[in-house]
């Protein structure tokens, strides 16, 4: 009897230890952040996607001859030159001082940068970024992200923020985040307090089983949601994004919090974009995606065209990311 008591007691202790959910922290400036979401204009987004896709299709593929890892990253149909100009022009047309930072001698990367200066802590940065190099028509990956970047830059223009919002469109992400890696390692990661990275945010499907699973994750299998991915360093930010999406009603969102800093062997799937190096550096970064090849059958294929995107889904996602940007930058 004593033995049974002992074992049952220990089992009961295990059950007690496993109880209790962790609620979402209260979001400061929620109402003001929602005003930024409202400032996103639905009609402004898809024209960017159509324009960028047409530019990619008309552009000359990147010449990576002589670049050491070229065998790993064949450049057929990867273009970036015209998109680089489009982003720079887009910032300039809104009144931003756009700067194209060229990094690297061998296969140089053209990163386009613009800033909305903070009024209280101008040396603290919230990085809002995407990549503009892309395969084929590049509608989802990543004209959707570039369109979001430009529209968020336009939407925040009339608001004031404590921190500086730095918009960056990275180059050469598809070759292994070369543009962002050079950018961070050149010292531009200094002062970055938070980051938002957008990569493929426009494809959705209401078909059951349209969302593939990976790494044993039991993700919802209907691919009709945005993924907000963070690590334990910024787990509260993931919670906030999910709250903004589902409870504030901006966009259907599923949050994923990677273990630890997100760089473990089994978690490398979550580092697959320009936020990866930030996680390695310990800088909190949120990654927004539709899951790319885990959902979109046109991923890195000629079929990645604007007509395949879910326009309402993309617009909702841009609104959510705009609100999240406002929260991170501490809207005034």
């Amino acid at each position: 009897m004593a033995r049974i008591n002992c074992i049952l007691s220990l089992l009961a202790a295990m059950v007690v230890l496993s109880c209790g959910k962790e609620a979402t922290p209260e979001i400061r400036n929620l109402e003001k952040a929602l005003l930024v979401a409202d400032a996103v204009e639905a009609d402004s987004i898809m024209p960017h996607v159509f324009a960028l896709s047409a530019l990619h299709l008309a552009d000359t593929p990147v010449n990576n001859e002589g670049f050491a890892p070229k065998d790993l990253f064949p450049s057929d149909h990867l273009t970036r030159d015209r998109a680089t100009g489009y982003v720079a022009q887009g910032f300039a047309s809104m009144g931003y001082e756009a700067d194209t930072i060229i990094l690297g001698d061998e296969l140089p990367a053209f990163n386009v940068v613009a800033e909305k200066r903070g009024v209280l802590f101008p040396d603290e940065y919230v990085l809002v970024a995407c990549h503009h190099d892309a395969f084929y028509g590049a509608a989802d990956d990543n004209s959707s992200g570039v369109a979001a970047l430009l529209e968020i830059a336009r939407a925040v223009k009339t608001f004031q923020f404590a921190r500086t919002i730095r918009f960056v469109s990275f180059d050469l992400e598809e070759f292994g985040s070369i543009g962002s890696t050079r950018y961070y390692n050149a010292g531009y990661d200094r002062g970055v307090k938070a980051a938002v990275i957008m990569d493929a945010i426009g494809y959705a499907s209401s078909e059951p089983e349209s969302q593939k699973r990976a790494n044993g994750l039991q993700l919802p299998t209907t691919g009709d949601y945005l993924m907000a991915i963070g690590n334990q360093t910024n787990a509260e930010r993931v919670q906030e994004a999910v709250f903004l999406g589902n409870k504030a009603g901006l966009a259907k969102t599923v949050g994923i919090i990677a273990p630890g800093d997100g760089t473990y062997f089994f978690a490398t799937l979550f580092t697959r974009s320009d936020h990866g190096l930030l996680w390695y550096k310990g800088i909190p970064a949120l990654f927004f995606t539709d899951g790319a090849n885990l959902r979109n059958p046109n991923y890195h294929k000629p079929g990645d065209l604007p007509e395949t995107l879910n326009q309402p889904f993309l617009i909702q996602n841009v609104r959510l990311i705009a609100a999240m940007t406002a929260i991170l930058a501490e809207i005034q």
């Binding site: 033995r3 002992c6 074992i7 089992l11 295990m14 496993s18 039991q218 334990q232 999910v242 062997f265």
Partner: protein, 173 residues
């Protein structure tokens, strides 16, 4: 309140253990351990090692408690407790039932209002040790496996390549 409840339970367990010293053969156990747990909200996995204590009682009964640490997806851990039956003799296959408390590093899936899932998670499990051998000095078990079902459609799989036990009071069965 949770801590107070936990403390009370552990004190009760300690008191009970004190009464449970008779007619047992105690052993210390060390093992290689692999774990995979996946639910709609939590995924935890890794490969590592564990250690614990086991006892056998008379011819058929046995129990084991152990702690395990895993790598590859951060540092996950598990605390396991099980009771079961075994075949008497040198070849002593066993089947056990109990529970595992899985904690540490994990991937979380957040839905709804953004609340994070309860963690660590308790998973009732069944374990099988088909290649378990013992003599008066200890026991060895190869390819011991376990399976369990947790909350939110959680499934648990465990595999120990090898587990070694050293009897603390050899000769007793």
């Amino acid at each position: 309140m949770k801590n107070l409840t936990l403390l009370s339970i552990l004190l009760w367990a300690a008191a009970s253990a004190g009464l449970a010293q008779q007619n047992c053969r105690w052993s210390v156990v060390a093992q290689q351990a692999n774990l995979f747990y996946s639910s709609r909200q939590i995924t935890s996995a890794g490969t590592g090692f564990g250690a614990g204590a086991g006892f056998t009682y008379r011819d058929w009964w046995m129990a084991q408690a152990d702690a395990n640490l895993y790598w590859l997806n951060g540092n996950a851990w598990s605390l396991r407790l099980a009771i079961g039956i075994r075949r008497p003799g040198k070849w002593s296959p066993a089947v056990m039932a109990g529970g595992a408390l899985v904690g540490g590093a994990r991937t979380e899936i957040i839905t709804g209002d953004g609340a994070r899932p309860a963690f660590p998670v308790f998973v009732p499990e069944i374990r099988f040790a088909p290649l378990r051998f013992q003599n008066e000095r200890g026991q060895v078990s190869i390819l011991e496996c376990g399976a369990g079902l947790g909350p939110d459609k959680g499934i648990l799989g465990q595999l120990s390549i090898i587990s070694l036990g050293l009897a603390l009071n050899p000769g007793k069965q």
